[in-house]
Structures are given as C-alpha cells and as structure tokens.
C-alpha cells in the first residue's frame, strides 16, 4: 500500500523530560483521537527528541502552521484535534503565555525562550524523529561525512577542525583539532575513537538530549574523527541511567549500518568504521578520560596519572581520541560548512555555541543553546524568564559540582571558556543552576561537596581525605559550631587538593567552595560569628516564633505540631516552646495568618505566658 499523503505533521516531544511530564499518554490520546476523527491518513504523528522547553512540557508542535502547544494533557487532545487539525483554529488556552503580560504566543518562532538561541548542536533536536535516519538525511545529515571521505584527506579534516577553533565541550575547553592532530600523529595501526557520554553532573542533561534527539549527529561526527585519525573502531561510553539515549543511539548505529553509512566500505570509499555502545555503571569519576578508558577495558574506573595522554596510549594502550558528545555532534557541520562558518559564531577565543541545561530558580527551566559571548543576564532573564515568585537573584552555578558560582555583580559577564575561568567559575559541560535569595550559600556548597566526596574514587589522598575534611568543616559551620579559623583552613585544604589531586575530579572539587567564599564570604562569617543564616535555611541556626501581634489563636499550629511544643488556648496568643521545637516548619506552613516567624541569629520578643489576643505590647 502506498504511503498516505499527509497534510500536517504533529511533533510530540518524547525526550526524557516530557516523558516524565506525561507525553506518552498524550501520544496515546492523540493516536486514538485521530483514528476517531478519521484523520490518520491526513495527519502524521512524529515522536521527537527534546525541544528544550522542558518547563512547559509536554510540548507539541503542529506543522505546517508552526503552532506550539505546551503543558498538553491527554484530556486536551479531543479539543486540540477538532479545533486545530480539523478546523485550523488555535486553541488559545494551550499556547504559551508571556509570564508578565499573559499574552498568548501561538507560534514557535515568536516565543522569547527561543528568540535569543542559536541552535547548531541542537539543530535537529525536537525537529526530527530521532528513530528515523531518513529525517536526519533530509536535514543534510551525512553530507559532512561524504565530503570528508571523498573530497578531503585526513590531514585536511584535522586542519579544518583545528581552524574552526572548536574547543572541547566536555568542560576543559581544549582545542579539539589539536587533540585530533596528536592522535593522528601517534604511530600505530590500531587506534580508537571514544565518545564521552558519561554525563553525571546533578541537573545536567545536554548530552542526554542530543543522544535522544539527534543520535546520528554523534555517529557521523565520530566516523569523521575515525577517518581523520586513522581509527576503524569507536566506543560511545554512555551511562546506563540513560536508557532512552542508549536505545536511540543503538538504533541509529543499526540504521546507519544498514544504509552503508557506517561499517565496512562506507559510501563505497573503502573506509571502514565500526561503532559500539558501552554502558557505564554511573560512577561520576568515569567521566574522567583515563577512568573512562579503564572502565571500557573492564577494569575498575579509576584515573591514572597523565602523561601518557590517551592520544598516545589510550584504550588498550593504543592511540585514542576522546571527546564529549557535544564536540562530536557539531563536527559534520564544521566539515560541511567550513571552519570560517563556525568561527563566525561566538567569540574570538571560544567560537561556536554553548549548550546549557538551565535549572533551579528560573521560570523556564530547560535546554538552551546560545552563541558564546552572550551575557549571563541574557540567559537567565531573557531566555530563562527571570526568577519566579518575585524573588531576587542570588547566584548561578556553572559547571555543576566541579564548577563555581557567579554572583549578581557578574551578571553582565560574557560567557565563554576564558571569561568564566577568570571569574572563578568554569564552563563545565553545561549545567547552569540558578539560585535565589532563599538559598544559603554554605548549604549550597555543602550539597555539591557531598556529591563530589561520595563520587571520589579514593585513589589519591588529596581528593579522598581533603574533600571529606572540607565537608566536615562546612557541616560544622551550618550547625553553628564553626570557628573563624575554619575559613582559612578551607582555603588551605582547597589549595592542596588543586595542586595535589590526581585528576580533575579532585582538583575541581573545592571549586564551588572557593568561588562561594570569593563572592559570599560574609555569609560564611555570619554563620560563624553571629550564628546567623540569612537565607533561613540552616536548621540549627533558625528559630520559629509565633508573632504575638499577628496570632489569632486559631489553634491550627498547635494541632499540627508533631511534638506538641506549642501552648495556647481559645483567644490566647500561642507560644512555641523553643527548647522542644524540632524546627520542622510545619507550623510555618499551616498558619493561615502568616503569624509564624522564622528568624536566625536574633531574638524575637514574645510573651512568656498566655495572654489574650490583642493585648500584646512589645
């Protein structure tokens, strides 16, 4: 039977974020409704990868009208099908609304979240069906590989990648072309191409989204690399916690092999390249290249001292090129469009774009791709929509648990590898966590440090012992037992780790603490000297009081208190017994009159015995 002639495409995001917000049931409802209305042969449903606008998921786009629907529920589907697909009308309540003006923005291209973005690495994500190689090919896929194999020599490929100025998107920012050159120059018949997809930073999902949304771009980039350095085998090291990414990647490899775009004699040129997926068990340290290589070999995932670098002696002792997912996925476009095209985007020192997973206290969490050189303010306010609930911006953490934070005074900093490093943060792989005034920076550092300490492989002393000691000091400070000498002590241990640890994990673990000390030192000091946590987050340093001027003696707090430490009576101002209070905050959340007050490092005047409502005088 001939393929039906469709008049419209409905793209439903089935990336992990939208799946968790319910896109699978939306998809089922859509198929059912289309069948009911007899539209199956007119309207085609396509499952795509991540569109980036995860805060608004599940998202759905209708072509050719370009209508963008967000937060779609299965029960919305009948209306949507009848109105939009049958009658061509926009369903206003499902379109994106400007948070400030509540103005509806029905068309994809007009949404401010996308306006300032420049999608190169994510160019296909959310636009094509990642499980269909044909869709990748229509969008120009495998043209870069074809050009490299037929019109270029391995040397000119390396020269082009070098000339493009592409820097490793895994975080370190090393020149990709130079890395390739080393691997190319290394003697040996057997070489390997490795892709690092062991994305482990809390709150980061850039690599996952690319593998889920556009797996062929990585396959193609790795194949070009194989041709350039003279390798015939490659491995994608992807963490097993990314089942959808692994499934789509394996499918992409299979489809590319069937077309002869991967495997033996690619495109009839005689060049052969085979690709395998290695699932990692999720140890954070395996994102470090030597630990990653050890893990592929079946050994314990531990880093080793370099040199020799993997370009000389990597996987099974052979020359190996290792890059991040984002570095590989842009290669084919650089080959096809030329290094000058890539250089034309971004800044002089850091050409191209950066992909960030924007999370935390920001209105539009999601995946964004911006040209290097954009300011932090533009990312957070123009794209991210600013801080929700009228709160004040405090800091943004880049580079995850091994990165650093940037404070308000640096909001106009232009983002690239070098400027972030100068500001004490790092580009990292692309995590960007925004925090508002309600976040305690000491607690925030403690969170990242807890993660890094748990993930230390334990091989070298600075990382194993240093991280733990720093965590103990931070814990002490948040519990109100800190001493002023603790701050220089933290800095001393940090310096020891930075210079003495074996790999980047240990060297960068103190980063968040050091950058927080740089911008928020007075907050650490207030915890130590005044026993005060200004953000009212450190449990040991806060107290709850009933504000006697606001209490209406409704008794709700008294009933809700799990340890019965609130005394009160009808028409009598309630009192919290400070000695018994466990600071659970239940009274704070149940009080209908906002009469429960949270304070830190200060006294709050309250009556010592029960007095009638309205009789309190301070």
């Amino acid at each position: 039977m001939a393929e039906p002639v469709y008049r419209a495409d409905v793209l439903v995001c089935t990336g992990t974020s939208c799946v968790s917000s319910g896109s699978v049931s939306v998809l089922d409802a859509l198929h059912a409704e289309l069948a009911k209305q007899g539209l199956e042969d007119e309207v085609r449903v396509i499952e795509t990868g991540c569109r980036g606008f995860c805060a608004m998921g599940p998202v759905l786009i209708i072509y050719p009208d370009d209508i963008f629907y967000c937060q779609v529920k299965p029960e919305d589907i009948p209306t949507l099908v009848e109105e939009t697909l049958l009658k061509g009308r926009v369903v206003e309540r499902l379109v994106y609304q400007e948070p400030e003006t509540h103005e509806a923005v029905p068309f994809y291209d007009d949404i401010p979240f996308y306006e300032k973005q420049n999608r190169i690495m994510l160019r296909n994500c959310g636009l094509i069906d990642p499980e269909m190689i044909d869709e990748y090919i229509v969008r120009g896929g495998y043209r870069g590989l074809a050009k490299a194999l037929t019109e270029m020599t391995p040397e000119t490929v390396v020269a082009d990648v070098k000339a493009s100025g592409l820097r490793g998107r895994g975080g370190a920012g090393f020149l990709t072309g130079l890395k390739w050159q080393f691997a190319q120059a290394a003697p040996g018949d057997v070489k390997y191409v490795v892709c690092n997809a062991d994305e482990g930073d809390p709150g980061a999902f850039m690599d996952r989204s690319i593998l889920e949304g556009d797996p062929h771009s990585v396959v193609e980039g790795m194949t070009v690399c194989g041709y350039a350095i003279g390798a015939h085998e490659g491995y994608v090291y992807c963490r097993a916690e990314y089942p959808l990414a692994i499934k789509r990647l394996k499918l992409a490899i299979k489809q590319a092999e069937e077309y002869g775009l991967l495997g033996d004699d690619i495109l009839g040129t005689g060049f052969s390249f085979h690709l395998q997926v290695k699932e990692g068990a999720g140890a954070f340290v395996c994102g470090e290249e030597t630990a990653l290589i050890a893990s592929i070999e079946g050994r314990r995932g531990e880093p080793r001292p370099r040199p020799p670098f993997p370009a000389v002696a990597g996987l099974w002792g052979k020359p190996t090129n290792n890059n991040n997912v984002k570095s590989y996925c842009v290669i084919a476009q650089i080959i096809e469009k030329g290094p000058d095209w890539f250089r034309g985007i971004g800044t002089e020192g850091s050409p191209g774009t950066a992909v960030f997973a924007l999370t935390g206290k920001v209105r539009h969490t999601g995946l964004v791709e911006v040209p290097m050189g954009i300011t932090v303010r533009e990312i957070i306010y123009d794209i991210g929509g600013g801080i929700p609930d009228g709160k004040k911006f405090k800091a943004v953490q880049t580079g995850g648990p091994l990165g650093g934070c940037i404070s308000e005074e640096n909001l106009d900093l232009q983002v690239d590898f070098d400027s972030l490093r100068q500001a004490g943060a790092v580009m990292g792989s692309g995590g960007m966590i925004v925090v508002d005034e309600d976040t305690c920076m000491v607690e925030f550092c403690k969170y990242f440090l807890t993660f890094a300490v748990a993930e230390s492989c334990g091989k070298c002393v600075p990382c194993r012992v240093g991280g733990r000691r720093m965590l103990e000091i931070l814990t002490r400070i948040t519990e109100g037992n800190g001493e002023l000498e603790d701050i220089p002590k933290l800095e001393e241990i940090a310096a020891g780790m930075q210079s003495g640890a074996l790999c980047a994990l240990g060297q960068l673990t103190p980063g968040p603490v050091l950058s927080a000390l740089r911008f928020f030192r007075e907050e650490f000091e207030a915890h130590i000297t005044d026993k005060r946590c200004a953000a009212l987050q450190c449990e040991s340093l806060i107290s709850y009081y009933v504000n006697p001027a606001a209490c209406k003696a409704c008794g709700k707090c008294r009933k809700a208190c799990p340890v019965q430490c609130i005394t009160g009576d009808r028409k009598m101002i309630h009192i919290i017994n400070q000695d018994e209070c466990i600071k659970c905050g239940t009274c704070y959340s149940v009080c209908p009159f906002d009469a429960i007050t949270k304070v830190s490092g200060q006294e709050f005047a309250v009556p010592t015995e029960l007095i009638p409502v309205g009789s309190w005088q301070a």
Partner: protein, 124 residues
C-alpha cells in the same frame, strides 16, 4: 533497506525524502480549505483529500491548511490558494471533481480560474 553505495546515491536519497519533509519547511504555496461545520457538510473533507492526492500525483510541494468558517457558508467548500508575491484567491463550491482542473490551471499554468472565484485578497 537498500545500501547507499556512493555520495551520489546519498544525494538522490535526500531528494527523494525531501517531499515527505516539506510540511516542516517553507513552501511558497499555501492552500487553505474551509473546515467549519458548513464546509464539512458541503464535502470539504473530500475536497481536501482530493487536493492532497492531486498534489502528490503532480509532485507539487504546497502546504495544505484548514480554517474554520469565514461566513460565506453558501459557497462552501471554499478553497483559498496563496502563492508568494501573488494575491490570495478564494474559490467557492470546490467539490472533488473540480480539484484537478483547479490545481492544473492555478498551480501549474499560473492562471486564475475566474468563473469559480469568490474573492481576491491583496496582501500589503
């Protein structure tokens, strides 16, 4: 799946696939079918199906859109054709049997079928 044996094969494959993807890219032609209750009652679903078949048969890339009632219910099914740089033409009473002639005259020969026209809209 057939092997893509050469760079030329890859190019041919890409061109073959292009049509299938055209709904998500720009075409210069938009055909709009009135799909209000009035349109559907007058057979607009059938008209649209005929348009899709005709476009496919003649290998024309165009977007086919649906809209609700625009008020001229007595002349349904209404079909508008808009091409870049030309005025938007509304045709009335376009039943299935009129579709091949409409497509042939308007899209292939570039001539407006005056006898079926109910209105013209000049874009500014």
């Amino acid at each position: 799946m057939p092997k893509v044996g050469s760079v030329a094969d890859l190019q041919i494959l890409r061109e073959q696939l292009q049509k299938d993807f055209s709904r998500r890219t720009d075409t210069n032609t938009v055909i709009t079918v009135g799909m209000g209750t009035c349109g559907i009652a007058a057979g607009a679903r059938d008209t649209m199906q005929a348009i899709l078949e005709e476009l496919d048969k003649r290998d024309i890339t165009a977007h086919v859109q649906t809209v609700g009632c625009i008020g001229m219910c007595s002349r349904e099914p209404l079909v508008d054709i808009e091409q870049a740089g030309k005025p938007r033409i509304s045709y009335g009473n376009i039943t299935r049997d009129r579709v091949p002639q409409l497509i042939e005259e308007h899209l292939i020969k570039g001539q407006v079928v005056e006898e079926w026209v109910v209105g013209k809209l000049q874009r500014d």
